[in-house]
């Protein structure tokens, strides 16, 4: 198990480096003159080349990359080309907001998908059909459209919850919850739908398995057979789907943050992308991938814990 974990961590580190490198190269391909963009049309050619020198843009790609990776390894992701702000600081300010809505969304998806999937699998009939239909809708509709509807109906029209803004958890837990609940729900819909279908399918398969019949032949009651044995067996494949959904959740957060006016990583990445602020964009990619790797690692551990074939071997 320890070897397994260490290997997963090593693979995760390699992944982050590869993605960072690919992003770096991609952003270097930009044909536009960055220094000119920063200084504006009125700047003289001398000013522009001075700015380019200041940013190190006159150096060869390899040198620039080496420089960046050297600093990144030491925990420094550089400064914004446009504002000069530390990328680390910007990320530290925005990451908690994104994590709040994404993790609350994951939690909602986890709980709801188990409940809905189990109910659909056990009840069958029209309940099953309704859940299945809702799941098709839920997976198809993009999260930001749901966010728009939620924002307009719940916040703008009914005024039940704040439409925009973020309250830190430390400042006011209830304020925090109010500010993250709508975006989290919007994000959770697709993940819930996809995972619920997985839970449903896996549970139906497990309930047909030979060992379930044998457990019943031993006189165990339905509660123990379904909730102790069957659900436990259905959990690993559901977890795999949830891990994939997490990546979608982070992506969805980029747009959903804009709807609710949350200054999260997505907003940071978006403004950096619009301006062409490579260091900031690069920083957001590195942090996002790291979060994905970390969460996948946690889910891997949970998977191994649930699946004895991985744990004991």
């Amino acid at each position: 198990m320890l070897v397994f974990l260490l290997r997963r961590i090593a693979a995760g580190v390699v992944l982050v480096v590869v993605v960072a490198t690919a992003t770096f190269l991609l952003l270097s391909l930009t044909g536009t003159d960055v220094a000119r963009n920063i200084l504006g049309e009125s700047a003289s050619p001398a000013q522009v080349s001075a700015k380019a020198h200041e940013l190190g843009l006159d150096q060869p790609l390899v040198v620039r990359y080496g420089h960046w990776i050297d600093r990144a390894v030491h925990g420094d992701l550089g400064q914004s080309w446009f504002t000069g702000d530390s990328v680390n600081q910007s990320l530290a300010n925005t990451l908690p907001i994104t994590l709040s809505i994404v993790l609350v969304g994951m939690l909602i998806a986890l709980v709801l998908s188990i409940v809905l999937g189990t109910v659909a699998a056990l009840r069958g009939g029209w309940v099953d059909r309704v859940v299945q239909f809702a799941a098709v809708l839920g997976t198809a509709i993009p999260s930001f459209l749901i966010a728009l509807v939620l924002a307009v109906v719940m916040a703008v029209q009914l005024g039940l919850l704040p439409a925009t803004g973020y309250v830190a958890l430390g400042t006011s837990p209830s304020g925090w919850l109010q500010s993250v609940i709508l975006p989290a729900v919007a994000l959770a819909v697709a993940a819930t739908a996809a995972t619920a279908m997985q839970v449903r399918g896996a549970l139906i398969d497990v309930l047909r398995a030979d060992f379930v019949r044998t457990l019943r032949s031993r006189g165990l009651n339905t509660r123990s057979v379904v909730y102790r044995h069957a659900l436990r067996n259905a959990a690993p494949p559901a977890l795999t789907v949830l891990a994939l959904q997490f990546i979608g959740l982070i992506g969805g957060a980029v747009v959903v943050e804009k709807v609710f006016g949350l200054p999260g990583i997505g907003t940071l990445a978006n403004s950096a992308a619009v301006r062409g602020d490579s260091p900031v964009l690069l920083g957001t990619v590195v942090v996002t991938v790291t979060v994905v790797v970390a969460v996948n690692l946690l889910l891997d551990i949970a998977y191994g814990w649930l699946n004895p074939k991985v744990r004991v071997s």
């Binding site: 029209q157 031993r218 165990l220 044995h229 074939k309």
Partner: protein
């Protein structure tokens, strides 16, 4: 011994016809066709250019000139909606197309040849999938181009892993099929095997996924333009949503049109995919809850003799759908799988229930245990265990009996243990329930049982997971579980069929000794007359749902009465002459 019917893959033309019979699918197709038509005919339907802005038309109300009004910067909403449709449809198509062009061939080659190519492709795929698509799109649009169509082509590459995974998984599963091996042995080359045997299997899931990718791409494209990316000259639903959102307090209807258009298009595409899936029949059959009718007549047979464990009279089992339990000849329409079976088991007696696949022998056994699928309809004149009625009683009453009064030994050892729980806990749980003993008492008893069934290291097996023990070992564990609560009757369904012949002999020895030492009654379901001769006292021969003959074991073998029994016994090869050596005189028989 019954080989399960493989799910048949309908041919492609039949799939199309079945899809078109679904009204939802037809509705989706019509909606998509309308959206496509409206977008294509945009120049005919509106006179305004989508990016033509007139200051006085800012937030213009609905009028003849502007059927849907004007937007926040004075552009015609209808025109933007129609031209935006072009952007969305083109973008969705581009992305799905590129995803398939990239992911399809790669998945095909990866799944078919495996090896280093597969490993390398899998690694790259994992890298791509670890990054949220929309973040990659931000980077790409910042670096390369603000053109939404270029962005959608890149999105296609990002979504290619999903196609890759799907195609690879289907190819890998087909590749393992014996008919692909057979084709290879027949001399078919790889390209031909791909075309004839692999591609047809991949087509249907690909259609489903294409609709999903199309829908996802439209959503992501809209998300990007909602964020303000993309060229201002490209009208898009996402940009309209953005405009509507900035004016949400003054003119919320601006949100409605693009939102509706997008939702309808995306839903039509994914519901269409869903309908194709339904037509494929890959969704699981729905579990039908059916009230199990009680006995037709209650215990007319009077009080049973004291040594009588089990009495079954006139047992009848049928299924609402034809061909569910499958006669071996695959004939449809015959729903009755057990038809008027009567049998008894005395204390300490081993009854063999013999028959070929589809004879209903296992169904009969499961009926006694109350373990038939929910859709089975069971009736009987009488079915009682030591005087207690078995039919039409509550689950709780059955649960009190199962394990405690009647034990069950299944056929396939490995699939009958819960893979997620240690063997020990699976033995302890029923004992604690039935015998009301403490965890440590149950543990002691379980270890004794494991030793009793001939497991050399009970402590280790107690702590093991099922995948850590061999098949013969697992079958011993299952036998230990079956007798753990001291049942009076043991029902064993082909308990040795999945085992090697040397292990089978040991397991039969074990079952015989347990049966004798505990004076259990036993029903042994089997197709093997050797097993019958080894362990049974009495034999009931079943043919297509009926018992044709019941007799003591010596009599069955010495003087079978029914023609079917004789036919079965004649079919056994044992005792016949061995084949003569090649080139030996034809008539000579070595004995």
């Amino acid at each position: 011994m019954t080989v399960p019917e493989t799910a048949a893959i309908p041919k492609r033309d039949r799939l199309l016809r079945r899809t078109l019979r679904d009204p939802v699918a037809v509705a989706c197709l019509v909606i998509l066709a309308l959206v496509i038509l409206a977008s294509l005919a945009a120049p005919l339907l509106t006179d305004y250019a989508p990016d033509h802005s007139v200051l006085s038309d800012t937030l213009a109300p609905v009028s003849g000139a502007h059927p849907l009004g004007g937007d926040g910067v004075g552009r015609d909403v209808l025109s933007r909606l129609l031209y935006g449709g072009r952007t969305s449809l083109l973008g969705g198509t581009l992305a799905a197309l590129v995803a398939f062009l990239v992911g399809g061939p790669l998945g095909l080659v990866s799944g078919f040849y495996r090896g280093w190519f597969d490993a390398a492709a899998g690694w790259i795929i994992n890298v791509i999938m670890a990054v949220p698509a929309i973040i990659v799109m931000l980077v790409v649009m910042a670096a390369l181009s603000q053109d939404l169509n270029v962005a959608m082509i890149v999105l296609g590459v990002i979504m290619a892993p999903m196609v890759f995974r799907l195609i690879r998984a289907s190819v890998v599963s087909v590749r393992e099929e014996l008919y692909v091996d057979a084709a290879r042995v027949s001399g078919l080359g790889d390209p031909r095997i791909m075309r004839r045997h692999i591609l047809p299997v991949v087509v249907a899931p690909s259609v489903i996924q294409a609709t999903q990718l199309f829908a996802v791409a439209i959503g992501i494209q809209a998300g990007l333009s909602f964020l303000g990316l993309g060229k201002a000259s490209q009208a898009s639903w996402g940009a309209m949503l953005n405009d509507g959102f900035t004016n949400v307090y003054t003119e919320p209807t601006l949100l409605v049109w693009p939102g509706l258009a997008m939702a309808v298009t995306i839903l039509a595409a994914s519901l269409l995919g869903n309908a194709v899936r339904d037509a494929l029949g890959t969704t699981e059959t729905r579990v039908v809850r059916r009230r199990r009718p009680g006995p037709r007549k209650t215990a007319a047979g009077g009080p049973s003799p004291s040594d009588r464990l089990l009495t079954v009279e006139g047992l009848r089992i049928s299924y609402p759908k034809p061909g569910r339990s499958g006669g071996s000849d695959g004939s449809d329409g015959d729903k009755i799988v057990v038809d008027g079976v009567s049998l008894t088991v005395e204390r300490g007696e081993v009854l063999g229930l013999v028959g070929e696949s589809g004879s209903g022998k296992s169904q009969t056994a499961f009926a006694v245990l109350g373990l038939l699928p929910n859709e089975a309809e069971v009736t009987a004149d009488q079915m009682s265990f030591t005087g207690k009625e078995l039919l039409g009683v509550s689950q709780a009453a059955l649960n009190a009996l199962r394990g405690r009064g009647i034990g069950y030994v299944p056929q396939e050892p490995m699939s009958n243990l819960d893979p997620c729980f240690r063997i020990g806990s699976q033995l302890v749980e029923p004992m604690r329930k039935h015998l009301g003993i403490s965890r440590s008492e149950a543990r002691t008893k379980a270890l004794e049982l494991l030793a009793r069934v001939g497991i050399p290291d009970p402590e280790r097996v107690f702590k093991s997971y099922p995948h850590q023990v061999s098949g013969g070992m697992a079958q011993r564990v299952l036998i230990a579980g079956a007798v753990s609560c001291d049942p009076h009757l043991l029902i064993a369904d082909e308990p040795t069929t999945a085992l090697d012949v040397t292990v089978q002999a040991e397991v039969l020895d074990l079952m015989r000794s347990l049966q004798q030492e505990r004076e259990m009654g036993m029903i042994l379901v089997t197709h093997d007359f050797g097993v019958v001769a080894d362990i049974c006292d009495r034999v009931a021969v079943m043919q297509t749902g009926r018992i044709v003959e019941t007799a003591p074991v010596e009599k069955i073998f010495a003087s079978p009465e029914h023609a079917y029994t004789r036919m079965l016994l004649d079919s056994t090869l044992e005792g016949g002459p061995a084949r003569a050596a090649l080139g030996a005189p034809l008539k000579e028989v070595t004995s």
